[in-house]
Amino acid sequence: MLTCHQVAEGATEYMEGAAPPMRRLGVWAHLRVCRNCREYLRQLSRTIGLARRALVPPPAPEVEDGLAAIFAAQGRPGAAE
């Protein structure tokens, strides 16, 4: 039987589907009986969702305007390229 420590260390390998078959089986068996590890892996998984939605600062207005101006110039007939 794997320990919680082993399951926690191997959590990403397991979640990424990269664990060798016997290891995978061992983690699966542990998770069936260990609520604490199940909760931990669920939280790791939800963390990925949060990371995907993590906010970044919006572009400064002058940056957006500058890019929009380049876009407009490129779209005109006879523009470079």
């Binding site: 959590a11 390998e13 990424e16 990269a18 963390t47 919006p58 380049i70 876009f71 490129q74």
Partner: protein, 220 residues
């Protein structure tokens, strides 16, 4: 235009079919629609800057790489075949530009050295486990994290953004590429010059740290 990805895996490459919304966006961009372009800039610019920051050693060069990326996107829109999501295509351009530039300027972050340094030892502090290998603490469910908060709690999502910025550079790079932007592992290994094993070790450490940060914030 953002695609939903179910679960933890990502859609296999080569089977991408643009949805109606994405196809409409692309058509508007190709027609020179200013509003569509501004929306794209608002959606992607900050994320591109964050991603460039993982490759570049300073803010100024990250900004230049992002600028070069936008120029390539603008000139390349008509040639883009739509065989990948628009965001993935733009990310690919950025990664190439960032690498080329960093190598040329001799400022390429050596991810394989970083992977060795950042991957040493255990991902967890020893006190988190009892001597018999059980957790020292009970993980209480994130009941306070409702789907509504998950999607729209700006304070929480900004906090997660700050936690991402605080990660060591190689861990930040892999979690941004894999979990945030959804690149496939082989593409990430190639871009960073690291092995799959390196990638998993770094990803694991990053996720463990982000989960701990999220745990504190969820319980507030």
């Amino acid at each position: 235009m953002r695609r939903n990805r179910g679960g933890i895996g990502v859609a296999p490459q080569g089977s991408y079919q643009a949805g109606a919304e994405e196809a409409a966006t692309l058509a508007r961009l190709r027609a020179g629609d200013q509003a569509a372009f501004r929306t794209l800039v608002r959606e992607r610019h900050g994320r591109l800057l964050r991603l460039a920051g993982a490759f570049c050693r300073n803010r100024a060069s990250a900004e230049e790489v992002v600028q070069e990326t936008w120029l390539a996107v603008i000139t390349g829109l008509h040639g883009f075949s739509g065989e990948a999501p628009l965001a993935a295509w733009i990310n690919g351009i950025l990664v190439n530009k960032a690498k080329t530039r960093a190598v040329r300027d001799g400022r390429m972050v050596n991810f394989s050295d970083l992977a060795r340094d950042e991957g040493e030892g255990d991902a967890f502090e020893p006190e988190r486990f009892l001597p018999d290998g059980h957790w020292a603490e009970q993980h209480r469910p994130w009941d306070a994290l409702t789907p509504e908060r998950e999607a729209g709690d700006r304070q929480l999502l900004a906090g997660v953004g700050e936690a991402l910025e605080k990660l060591p550079p190689a861990q930040r790079a892999v979690v941004l590429l894999r979990d945030v932007e959804g690149l496939e592992s082989p593409a990430i290994c190639k871009a960073l010059g690291i092995s799959e094993a390196n990638l998993r070790v770094l990803l694991h450490r990053a996720r463990v740290k982000l989960r701990d940060a999220a745990d504190r914030m969820v319980r507030g």
